[in-house]
């Protein structure tokens, strides 16, 4: 962690939250304090916790995946959030959840842009159905044109998965498609 991040966490009064968490004490009541903290400092704290507890990998689920007590899905069903609220929810879930909590962002409810940004605020999983530009599910045999030195058709799912991988890599993280958890 840089001194800049360290100082931001201090200024926001979040040092105690970080130290308590490192000592294995998680205070769910801290969530109230986190909801009033400076957003970028909270994001820095959440990202630090994420790196220490679950590492750099981002699990990507493109089909319905199991949700258990270790998983927090943001945004939760039926809740409208602004982009900034979503980032705060993600960070709060990371910092006040159980150690190693899997914070999953559903890109079908918030868009891939916000989902990508959320990776810098504590998220470590992305989930959503691969869809076309109209938001409709891709047919299994659907193909997409790929332009390059040689234009060609490729299965739509392959193209979309490559895009998802790119989104994750460009946020500085390592993508991993998680097929085992598919139910």
């Amino acid at each position: 962690m840089s001194a800049l991040t360290d100082a931001a966490i201090d200024r926001a009064g979040l040092r105690g939250v970080l130290e308590a968490r490192r000592a294995g004490r998680i205070d769910p009541a801290a969530a109230d304090h986190l909801r009033s903290a400076d957003l970028l400092a909270l994001g820095a704290l959440a990202d630090c916790v994420r790196a220490e507890e679950v590492g750099d990998e981002v699990a990507i689920y493109t089909r319905p995946a199991a949700v258990d007590a270790q998983v927090v899905v943001v945004p939760c069903e039926g809740r409208e959030l602004t982009g900034l609220e979503l980032l705060r929810e993600v960070a709060v879930a990371r910092v006040s959840g159980p150690r190693g909590v899997r914070v999953r962002v559903d890109w079908t409810r918030c868009g891939l842009e916000l989902a990508q940004i959320a990776l810098g605020f504590g998220a470590n999983e992305l989930a959503g159905q691969i869809a076309n530009k109209r938001g409709l599910p891709m047919a299994e045999d659907e193909k997409l044109g790929v332009v390059g030195k040689k234009s060609r058709l490729e299965p739509a799912e392959t193209v979309k998965r490559r895009e998802l991988e790119g989104f994750v890599r460009r946020s500085g993280r390592t993508p991993r498609f998680d097929e085992e958890a598919i139910r």
Partner: protein, 382 residues
């Protein structure tokens, strides 16, 4: 590294090109955003600007063949080519006179077949309809084209257009100044030096202008930094730039459609780094058409202090696959800014305050621990 940059910023030192590169490469974009946010709040507090403007592209016929462009058509009569009769362009303002914009922003293709009087009449017609409308029209690329095509100097072009009603220049056409990139993506229009010279002349005539960068295609981080440093040097010389607007490349339907579009993280990073590097340009815009309103809202925490305006009519980004809406209402812009915990300030083109809106009683605003200036701003709400 980022700590050393912060110390330099605190000491009031200017960042170097190497600093800019380090910030563009830094893995923690939130940390870069924190630095930029500190500068933004030092300059503007929570004030976040927008205006009521209307975009108009009166012709998309263009002799230039820029690889990134999905808007231009090479000749009149080609499928999709259009050139508005003047009456139709004026009509776009007339039909909005019950709730008129304060600014018309015109950007066009480089049409080889129109007389110069077309552009003069376009401007004077708008002023006839609404004498106090601010006309922010024609990129430096267009001004340079007019100079070549109608055999005038840049100064003569600008003086004639000013007589017809031109008030300021938009920042488009800058793309990437460095010839290594510019010669590949837009070889047949104004060079980077020519773009800068048009703005230099405009500033000498007392006009204000904006500047852009088109990022996320074939350029390197070095090219982006070079671009911003050239603008910073111009601003040191003239002081005429008002705002810097990072524009994300969109690949649909153009000559670089094999490239991936820059992502939201890239957009936030560009906003943040430009806020830090362009220490002499007052405003950095999160242009919602380019980055979507949702990401623009977040960019207000990464260094941006302006979201542009209501737009109404944008077609250039839509042609390139932008998923942003075509227009936002004043109410939507106010809410977007309020939800970010900022104070919306409606401005005119020259950043004179038209109306300061209250800070909202919304969750994100209520969450804020900080703030002292905001209360004072609220007192002046009409």
């Amino acid at each position: 590294m980022i700590d050393a940059i912060r110390r330099r910023l605190e000491a009031g030192d200017r960042l170097s090109g190497e600093d800019g590169l380090a910030l563009l490469r830094h893995p923690d974009v939130v940390a870069v955003g924190q630095l930029a946010n500190e500068v933004r709040e030092r300059l503007h507090g929570d004030r976040t600007y927008f205006n009521r403007n209307m975009r108009l592209e009166v012709t998309n016929v263009c002799v230039a063949s820029c690889l990134f462009c999905s808007f231009a058509k090479l000749e009149e009569g080609a499928p999709g080519a259009h050139t508005m009769p003047l009456e139709k362009a004026w009509h776009e303002l007339e039909i909005r006179m019950d709730d008129p914009p304060s600014e018309i922003h015109v950007v066009n293709g480089l049409h080889p077949g129109l007389p110069f009087s077309y552009y003069e009449d376009l401007l004077s017609g708008f002023k006839r309809i609404k004498p106090d409308i601010h006309l922010k029209c024609f990129t430096a690329v267009e001004i340079h084209f007019f100079a070549q095509h109608y055999k005038m100097t840049h100064r003569e072009v600008l003086e004639r257009l000013r007589l017809a009603g031109l008030d300021s220049l938009p920042g488009g056409g800058a793309e990437i100044f460095h010839p290594e990139v510019r010669s590949r993506i837009s070889h047949d229009k104004a060079t980077g030096d020519e773009w800068l010279e048009v703005h230099r002349v405009a500033h000498a005539l007392g006009m204000r202008t904006n500047a852009t960068i088109l990022y996320g295609h074939i350029e390197t981080f070095e090219h982006r930094v070079d671009h911003m440093l050239r603008l910073r040097a111009l601003q040191d010389e003239t002081g005429g730039l008002q705002a810097f607007i990072p524009l994300a490349f969109h690949p649909d339907g153009n000559g670089m459609k094999n490239l991936p579009a820059p992502t939201a993280i890239d957009a936030l990073r560009m906003v943040a780094v430009s806020r830090l590097l362009l220490d002499n340009v007052p405003h950095v815009k999160a242009y919602w058409v380019s980055m979507t309103p949702e990401v623009a809202q977040i960019a207000l925490r990464f260094g941006a202090d302006d979201v542009d305006g209501t737009i109404v009519h944008e077609t250039i980004y839509r042609a390139a696959g932008s998923r942003s809406p075509g227009a936002l209402t004043t109410e939507q812009l106010v809410r977007l800014i309020q939800e970010a915990g900022r104070v919306p300030v409606e401005r005119d083109t020259l950043y004179n305050v038209v109306r300061e809106h209250p800070r909202a009683v919304l969750p994100e605003a209520a969450f804020k621990v900080r703030d002292r200036k905001a209360a004072r701003h609220l007192e002046v709400v009409s």
